[in-house]
């Protein structure tokens, strides 16, 4: 049996190497004397979220004047912390100025990050965080996705009912933070009964199959609390029959369109779309560039990205390629249903368009706009997530987007 494991392990590693080689060849090549050497370090790729986040950074790096100032290389190291450690090591050896990265582990990378900081490399982490204090963490994780969506679901259900929890990746700190936040709300309501809890790996198809399994045992479910992959949960409900139930989920285009669909609303779909925005990567990159060019003085710290919050009533389709006039979803057929809508932010990232998120191309005519001077919002402490040996803030699971409407 161990032979199988070996082979499967090698498969993962080798695919990583191949993907890295592929990614490296994409990097910029035009030679100019003194350019900032920036690395974009991804752990895994292969879902819409990861590639959008990476494309946003690549598009910004190609937008004037950064196109003349920055040499960016993308490295994809796979879901194994060891591989990302090796990737960081070689970036430090190549004398990187800055590394903008999605870290695969909040603790395993600390040593190599410290080594890089000592060598003068700036680390900017987006979405996922590290506990090494010399890195900048730019993340929505402290903004209360779990507790706010849980309260919204409880409100829709009137404080009682059977619910499913569609979680992320087992053993992942982000999944745990979200679920702990949600459970802090659900536990207050004895009428709320969690009848099924499953790991869907933040993937639409897995969510659909796992939800279908749970529905076989509990066809009388009243609501679903989901992390990313939520569109799969709606599909599973529709496969089963005509009844839909209130549910909360993240920011997929399919989910937002469904929330706003009058026919689905009639069948019982209510809820809110919130969660992790790929735009965090762009914000992290712009902050890093302002620090590197000396335009902004900023010590390494934990920075909060605001939680996107779109209830069904606020869903508004966009006419064009940009988020304009408060629109927040693209019409069917423009993007795949698994596309994560939160790529734009009119204040922080006015340079982007749909093309930037899909292909990593700069928007024609756009130039980099400076971030507002007072933009940085300090994030609360969360032990094991963004700090070591620290106290959790007292109002850790405080509701910020929604208030209880039921007792």
């Amino acid at each position: 049996m161990s032979r199988w494991k070996n082979y499967v392990g090698k498969f993962g590693l080798a695919s990583t190497v191949a993907a890295t080689a592929l990614a490296l060849s994409v990097g910029a090549s035009s030679a100019e004397d003194k350019k900032f050497k920036i690395f974009l370090s991804l752990s895994y790729s292969g879902n819409s979220w990861q590639s959008e986040a990476a494309n946003v950074v690549k598009a910004l790096a190609a937008t004037p004047p950064y196109d003349k100032m920055v040499e960016i290389k993308e490295v994809i190291s796979g879901a194994d912390p060891q591989a990302q450690i090796a990737a960081y090591e070689s970036m430090i050896a190549e004398k990187a100025d800055g590394i903008v990265s999605f870290p695969i582990s909040s603790t395993a990378l600390n040593r190599v990050i410290k080594k890089g900081c000592d060598a003068g490399v700036k680390f900017f982490m987006y979405d996922a965080t590290v506990t090494e204090p010399c890195a900048y963490n730019i993340s929505y994780i402290t903004s209360g996705f779990g507790e706010n969506t849980a309260q919204a679901l409880v409100n829709e259900l009137g404080g009682k009912g059977k619910i499913f929890l569609s979680r992320g990746v087992a053993g992942n700190s982000v999944d745990k933070r979200h679920t702990d936040g949600a459970m802090s709300v659900f536990k207050k309501y004895p009428g709320i009964q969690v009848v099924a809890e499953y790991y869907s790996n933040w993937d639409d198809r897995t969510t659909q199959q796992e939800t279908a399994k749970a529905l076989a045992a509990h066809p009388d479910v009243d609501g679903i609390w989901a992390q990313a992959g939520e569109y799969g949960a709606i599909q599973a409900l529709m496969d089963k029959g005509t009844k839909l139930v209130p549910m909360t989920g993240e920011n997929s285009n399919g989910f937002r369109l469904a929330l706003a669909n009058p026919e689905f609303q009639k069948r019982g779909l209510k809820g809110v779309s919130a969660g992790s925005p790929p735009a965090q990567s762009g914000y992290a990159f712009k902050l890093m560039m302002e620090v590197l060019t000396g335009k902004r003085k900023l010590e390494p710290q934990n920075i909060e990205y605001p939680l996107p919050w779109v209830p069904a009533a606020d869903v508004k389709p966009c006419a064009g390629q940009k988020f304009e006039n408060g629109c927040n979803v693209f019409p069917e057929g423009v993007v795949p249903s698994s596309f994560v809508t939160e790529i734009f932010n009119p204040t922080l990232l006015p340079e982007l368009s749909l093309q930037s998120a899909l292909d990593g191309k700069p928007t024609a005519g756009a130039t980099i706009q400076a971030l507002p001077a007072d933009v940085v919002v300090k994030a609360g402490n969360e032990p094991g997530i963004n700090c070591q040996k620290c106290e959790a803030s007292k109002d850790l699971y405080k509701l910020s987007k929604v208030q209880p409407t039921v007792k």
């Binding site: 879902n47 639409d204 198809r205 399994k213 899909l358």
Partner: protein, 355 residues
């Protein structure tokens, strides 16, 4: 010639689990014992299907909503992808190989189906066989590498898998576009006279696949190659082209599963094939096939796929934490494998084994 050979190999198969050494030369004295009249495959199939049925019936105790025809329907639909994939994996395992490129080919087919045919592309039905052929040729390349360059199947299929997966990533820039055409949606979600279309489709697939594997010369020759490749060459079987054919069929069944998945999830993702590598190997092995090749029947593999899927559903309804769920799943698979060993009681009553 062919018949004699296949009879010999099936003799060997019947005894493979037990005292193989004594009967390895096949043509021993005819065996008139009652148990010898029942084929080993039949026993395996009965055990696997029996376990699945028992699991479905007893799931009533887990949740009152389980245990009915509803559950059977859910199992059949969720298992349909695995059933299709396992056919190809089974053929490759039958000849003593292993196909690690299956997840990549599922993804490739899914991405191509979603982007080339797309939502409104029913006019371009001819692209379905084209995508099949594209995936099939990847399988053929794997087969050729194995046959002509003597690259071990693991490494060869791993390499083609990586190449295919990376090109899918490059082709899509990470976000596969498009969705399922009306034809695929009808296949996955439609029904005829109350029966879901996909179940009928998979039934038809199973019947064809069983005929191919156990009633045609292709199936018998693959089994002969798996039993003893040298003997197969001596018997005049063009082993090289048959091995290439097995990998081609495996790639094409992965392609079909990819298309079905696009219909099911109304779109493609780059990780859509991930869950089907180990589970396809597991269905084949739980279905009683030898991982070393030369022995196995597709009927039992179907049973294996159904058993694994049912197990997943029932365990997810247990409401126990994830860690325990996986432990229970592993134990049940071990238990099923133990039941399949006809000499299990002998093993336990024997005073001391040699090793």
């Amino acid at each position: 010639m062919m018949d004699a050979l296949s009879r010999k190999s099936s003799d060997k198969m019947q005894n493979a689990g037990g005292k193989m050494t004594e009967n390895a030369f096949g043509a021993a004295a005819p065996d008139y014992r009652k148990t010898a009249k029942i084929k080993r495959e039949t026993i395996t199939a009965c055990v696997v299907f029996g376990l699945t049925a028992a699991l479905i019936l007893s799931s009533r105790f887990v949740s009152s909503a389980l245990g009915g025809w509803d559950l059977v329907g859910t199992v059949l639909i969720l298992a349909s992808f695995l059933i299709v994939v396992s056919f190809g994996q089974g053929l490759v395992i039958l000849i003593g190989g292993l196909d690690l490129s299956i997840p990549a080919l599922i993804t490739l087919s899914g991405v191509l189906t979603a982007s080339w045919i797309g939502v409104s592309g029913d006019g371009s039905w001819y692209l379905f066989p084209l995508i099949m052929a594209a995936c099939g040729s990847v399988g053929a390349i794997s087969g050729m590498g194995i046959v002509f360059l003597n690259i071990p199947p693991f490494i060869m299929t791993m390499a083609t898998g990586i190449i295919v997966a990376s090109s899918a990533l490059g082709f899509t820039h990470g976000s596969p576009r498009g969705g399922a055409s009306a034809l695929l949606l009808t296949l996955m979600k439609g029904s005829v006279a109350g029966a879901p279309l996909i179940i009928l489709f998979v039934l038809l697939f199973c019947v064809l696949a069983v005929i191919i594997q156990s009633r045609t010369s292709l199936g018998r020759r693959l089994m002969a190659i798996g039993s003893n490749a040298k003997a197969a060459v001596l018997a005049g079987i063009p082993t090289k082209s048959y091995i290439i054919m097995a990998y081609t069929v495996s790639a094409m069944s992965a392609a079909l599963a990819g298309m079905l998945l696009v219909g099911y999830a109304n779109g493609a993702t780059l990780r859509m094939g991930d869950g089907y590598l180990l589970s396809s190997i597991a269905s084949v092995v739980v279905g009683g096939s030898s991982i070393l090749g030369g022995r196995g029947s597709y009927v039992s593999t179907i049973g294996g796929a159904l058993l694994l899927t049912t197990l997943g559903i029932v365990i997810s309804a247990l409401g126990v934490p994830q860690g325990w769920r996986t432990v229970i799943e592993g134990c049940t698979i071990l238990f099923a494998l133990l039941l399949l060993r006809e000499n299990i009681f002998l093993t336990f009553s024997r005073p001391k084994s040699r090793h």
